[in-house]
Symmetry: C2
Subunit: 200 residues, 2 copies
């Protein structure tokens, strides 16, 4: 088989792909075994042959959903030459590119909110996701300072946290109100902040 | 009994009070009947005598948790004479007064995230809560414009949404990271925004 995936590996990936929208929409507790059986077309034994537990499957489903989210948010960002414009591009992607994502909203928010009462495996994945997103944004800012595009008083980690907090909060309101207004409003505010206080 | 609550009403309130931290921490799906029985010390029949359904109890538990949250956020706000300082006080309360709340984080965030996959009763309560919080903040801003304390180009609804989004998002990060840094960082950012762009 050399280069090809084994049949077992293909089935495993297919299960993760089909489970991801369930866990992202309904949460870990809200997703039942019968939901998973229906979505995958497999029996209980067929699912548990590939995953030792529901938690393990939920963890891999989170990684799948998060990867889709990150690739949308970062689309085209590295091609933008200026650091401030890179940060803006990432903000614009978050606000505008909401197609092609795993349905159910931001997997980081969903998993963070649900896992804070004792689902340590999922919580650890959400933390790792937040850390890696924070690190990417911090790096853009640090590079911008080094290239004199960004005000040297800017603290890369704080700016990264500010952008992520702002976007996640605005997404929460937009979803609850069924309106893009809170996201658009935040996009405008963050662009303005970058122009006034971050750009050197 | 005239002024006093009936025994039934007292029991009903006690159930709501004991159920509120469960629903706020574990969510609607994650809270089982046996959790509720354990927390209240009642049997199934004793709970369902007072509430027609788990959803109804969860709805009243949400209102209870939300009322605690709102009263913390608004503490002392109306005594502050200047409108910009009122908005700052509300932000400070959100960031600093996190004692005395129903455990489990912001009930609005928890309920918004969990209810977006079809729990219409809870979703309606979360929407109403958001609307009323937005209306309170908008009113402070509108009054500030009328009194020439706030820049007349400020849009009250947009500023209210911006503040709420920012605080909720920062709370999400603070809880996930087990650190007050994202909330403190946002507090500083919002104060700065109010001083630079909102104050007249």
């Amino acid at each position: 088989m050399s280069n090809e995936m084994s049949k077992g590996e293909l089935t495993r990936r297919e299960i993760v792909k089909k489970a991801a929208p369930l866990f992202n929409r309904k949460g870990y507790e809200g997703t039942s075994l019968s939901d998973l059986m229906q979505a995958t077309g497999l029996q209980k034994g067929g699912i548990y042959r590939h995953f030792p537990s529901k938690q393990q499957l939920a963890g891999e489903a989170f990684d799948y959903s998060w990867e889709k989210a990150v690739s949308g948010r970062l689309e085209g960002v590295s091609e933008v030459p200026n650091s401030v414009l890179r940060l803006k591009k990432m903000i614009d992607n978050f606000v505008e590119k909401r197609e092609g994502l795993v349905p159910g909203g931001c997997p980081l928010m969903n998993t963070a909110v649900e896992s804070d009462d004792g689902n340590p495996l999922l919580r650890a994945r959400a933390r790792k996701a937040l850390q890696s997103w924070t690190a990417r944004l911090s790096k853009i800012t640090a590079e911008g300072i080094a290239r004199h595009e960004i005000n040297p008083r800017t603290k890369p980690l704080e700016l990264a946290q500010l952008i992520i907090s702002s976007l996640e909060g605005a997404l929460l309101l937009s979803r609850l109100q069924d309106s893009t207004a809170p996201l658009r409003n935040m996009q405008h505010h963050m662009h303005d902040h970058l122009d006034r206080s971050v750009r050197s």
